[in-house]
Amino acid sequence: MTGSWAPFPAVTHVVDASHIARYAELSGDYNPLHTDPEFARAAGFDGVIAHGPIALQTVFDAVARWLGGDGLPPSVRIDVRYRGPVSVGDVLTCRAAAIEEHAGVVLVRASCRDRRGREVLQALVAVPRRLAPRDRDPPDRAVG
């Protein structure tokens, strides 16, 4: 069935200090890894790192654009493995590596990388076949 699904959109977000401050404010997560450069350096990072959900927003944004609608899509599973930290100034892009179908479920294997090509997270998005959008264009566009 590869080639029959709508392209999974590539989504790019830029992470800046205001995003980290805003996420800390919204969530109440003031882990010093996100707020204290000295603490972060002592923990082995180059400086403060972004909250994990900030990078994840690229995946969620891509899923929402792919499926359409602005709410929680029903019966969807998203598995994310973090591969590396995200720092202030990083430019993150989420892209699909493959779209496959198994047993009535459409699986999108996606990856989020920074501008240097370093992978910061991997995601597997599982969507019931009935909800996955069909491609209206030629199949060579099927993987975004």
């Binding site: 977000h13 109440g28 929402a64 602005d70």
Partner: protein, 138 residues
């Protein structure tokens, strides 16, 4: 939205190694507001209006609840993985009940300790999503 500035302290004195698999916390009553939902439809903080809560509210609400469950955020913990299973939609604003338990804990080959928390989010008596966080202890 219950203000994250209220309630528990910012940082917790709990250590992940002191938690036991099966330990439960909650349920916690959270309030989601329209501004938070709209701030999490794309890039963080770039507001976009919508009537339903986006996927981005799931880590947000569970992070708030983790802070309440542990009496603050444990300093130095690093997120290893997150799993989301949606059941049905959630309004962009309203009450959400969240309970959480420690569902797994294991020693990694590199000696680090990972702890998984499983959250169930419900509104109007119906489960809307299940979220797992796996965190590497400092």
């Amino acid at each position: 939205m219950s203000s994250p500035a209220d309630g528990p302290p910012r940082l917790s004195s709990v250590r992940y190694q002191d938690l036991a698999v099966g330990r439960r916390f909650g349920p916690f009553a959270e309030r989601l507001d329209q501004a938070a939902s709209d701030a999490l439809r794309g890039e963080v903080g770039v507001s976009r209006a919508g009537t339903e809560a986006p996927l981005g509210v799931l880590p947000l609400l569970t992070l708030r609840v983790l802070r309440r469950a542990l009496g603050g955020i444990v300093p130095g913990g690093v997120l290893l993985g997150l799993h989301v299973t949606t059941v049905e939609g959630l309004p962009a604003a309203g009450a959400v009940d969240v309970d959480v338990h420690v569902s797994d804990q294991r020693r990694r080959p590199d000696g680090g300790l990972s702890t998984t928390f499983t959250f169930a989010l419900a509104a109007e008596g119906r489960v809307r999503a299940i979220v797992d966080w796996t965190i590497l202890a400092p």
